[in-house]
């Protein structure tokens, strides 16, 4: 098996804060991998260690087989990171920025690829604009382009869509998906779970510096075997029934069911009370439900 990332027992402490408490993670080449977790879970710390921006206290990380500390030059040549912070160098235009970034990787005469990246990210008409004069969304595109100048086999995107409009999100994912099809391994962190659910073939969830769930996206969704019943009636539900169901903004109730068989148990008392049903929907759980369940501390149990 060829791994794009091999992290073994990675630990990192900042003062009294244990940012990573022994993380083991292996990402295979060609995967589209999601790294999820609440703020402070250790996602960015783990990415920083992969990129050599942070030193691990213990454990090791290999990028495409190269140790990020001992063989840092080869490891970094194989890795492109889109940092979370919206940073730029106000001295240069977009094209200058990308040429300089290419040069840092020892690449000269890289203009054909730079043009292609700018075109794919909708930056072509901004090529000669100073980065200082760009909107936030455009600056984000430049950051993505900078991470790709050296065609890295492994691309890591740390919350690339935070505060970004729909158009850029679609442009970005179209381009990243193409790179993934071309064989690049993609690692993504995001708080938009529907994004992760639709893009990632495998997902790790971090909490408090530890991996608390790691599985194929489809398997994670299956773990949450139940369903949700979304129900709105005229008036209020009988007391006994309403207790177990939180009421949503529109006045609808949300029941969590262990299986579809339980639908009847909800409907029967309503029928008995003679209430008129205005809305009814049965929904399968999405990644957000799995996420909430995993993060709430009760480890997602295998249900049969």
């Amino acid at each position: 098996m060829n791994y794009a990332i091999q992290a073994q027992a990675v630990q990192k402490r900042f003062g009294s804060l244990q940012a990573l408490g022994g993380v083991d993670l292996a990402v295979e080449e060609g995967e589209f991998f999601g790294l999820l977790g609440p703020n402070g879970a250790g996602k960015t710390t783990l990415i920083s260690i992969m990129a050599g921006l942070t030193r691990p206290d213990a454990g090791s990380v290999k990028i495409m087989g190269y140790d990020v500390v001992a063989d840092y030059r080869r490891a970094r040549r194989n890795l492109g990171v889109v940092p979370q912070e919206l940073v730029f160098d106000p001295f240069f235009t977009v094209r200058e920025t990308l040429r300089i970034q290419s040069g840092y990787f020892g690449l000269r005469g890289n203009d054909a690829w730079i043009d292609e990246v700018m075109e794919s990210l909708g930056l072509a008409d901004k090529a000669n604009v100073n980065t200082r004069a760009l909107s936030g969304g455009m600056k984000r595109r430049v950051l993505v382009a900078q991470a790709l100048v050296h065609k890295p086999p492994l691309i890591v995107l740390d919350e690339p869509t935070a505060g970004v409009d729909v158009e850029l999100r679609q442009t970005l994912w179209k381009f990243i998906a193409r790179l993934n099809r071309d064989g690049h391994t993609i690692v993504l962190t995001t708080h938009y779970l529907e994004e992760a659910e639709s893009l990632c073939n495998r997902i790790a969830m971090l909490k408090g510096g530890r991996v608390v769930a790691l599985d194929a996206t489809a398997n994670l969704l299956k773990r949450h075997a139940g369903a949700f019943l979304h129900l709105k009636v005229q008036g209020d539900l009988p007391e006994a029934l309403a207790q177990g169901a939180p009421r949503e903004a529109g006045g609808a109730y949300r029941f969590q069911l262990a299986s579809y068989d339980e639908v009847e148990a909800v409907l029967a008392p309503i029928r008995a009370a003679g209430l008129h049903i205005e809305e009814l929907q049965v929904m399968t759980p999405d990644l957000e439900d799995v996420f909430v369940q995993v993060m709430s501390g009760t480890p997602a149990q295998e249900r049969t």
Binding site: A51, V87, G103, K151
Partner: protein
């Protein structure tokens, strides 16, 4: 087992150096012209006040004596300013990440920042020398010493600036370094006087000031006269450069204050 892109391409050194040169050149009014003007003001004021009243070396009038000191002071201060301000700006704005992510070695990183500082220092020094020629043309007794001390001195101060930039976390730290260390050390180094005019105690103190050797050795190249042997100055400046180079490369290796 390693299977990534092993394609060996050029290093990032050339580009990092180019970027550092472009950075100060794009704002040359502030980074080159302004310090030349400052040096010119020093020359006007001090030569007006002291010309004819002070003679430091026999047969050398005060303005001629002052010019090499002012040139070297400008070289040293601007070399320091270049690397320190570049690094702290990148740190504060966060764009230092662009040079931390690529496969640039520690020595290349050190070299690019230091050489850019040397170029800025020499550019300002040449500018100061040219405008002061209007007032007085100092002799060029030993040009190789002039060039040698200008190169070594600016490299040393570029490296000190790099150290300050690595250490500092905000602009105030650089300002403090500059105000409490660089400025007093330059002013007390014999730019404006010969240390032989000082009381014995302060003469002795001056000998612990590395700036004194940089200025004195540089001045030797013009007049063939100096307070101490140019060979001693060369040894002190060269030795200091080796020590700080080794120190900084080691700090970069450890990621001190750059890679947490």
């Amino acid at each position: 087992m390693s299977r990534g892109a092993t394609l060996e391409v050029g290093s990032g050194f050339r580009t990092l150096l180019y970027k550092e040169l472009l950075r100060f050149w794009k704002v040359s009014a502030q980074t080159v012209t302004a310090p030349v003007l400052t040096a010119l003001l020093y020359l006007l004021i001090f030569s007006h006040a002291l010309q004819g009243r002070v003679q430091v070396y026999a047969g050398v009038d005060y303005t001629a004596f002052l010019i090499p000191g002012l040139v070297m002071m400008s070289v040293l201060q601007n070399a320091f300013a270049n690397s320190s301000s570049s690094l702290i700006q990148s740190k504060v704005t966060g764009n230092l990440v662009f040079v931390l992510l690529p496969p640039i070695s520690h020595l290349e990183f050190f070299g690019a920042y230091t050489i850019a500082a040397v170029v800025r220092g020499l550019a300002v020094g040449t500018g100061v020398l040219i405008v002061t020629l209007v007032f007085e043309v100092p002799p060029l007794t030993a040009p190789l010493w002039i060039l040698g001390f200008a190169l070594l001195g600016s490299a040393l101060m570029g490296a000190v600036g790099l150290f300050a930039g690595i250490w500092a976390e905000k602009f105030d730290h650089i300002a403090a370094f500059q105000n409490f260390f660089i400025l007093p050390a330059t002013f007390l180094s014999g730019v404006f006087y010969s240390i032989h005019s000082l009381p014995p105690f302060w003469q002795a103190v001056s000998r612990f000031n590395p700036f004194f050797y940089m200025i004195d050795g540089f001045r030797y190249g013009f007049f063939g006269v100096s307070d101490v042997s140019p060979w001693l100055s060369l040894a002190v400046v060269g030795g200091s450069l080796v020590v700080i180079t080794v120190t900084i490369v080691e700090l970069l290796k450890r990621g001190y204050k750059l890679r947490h």
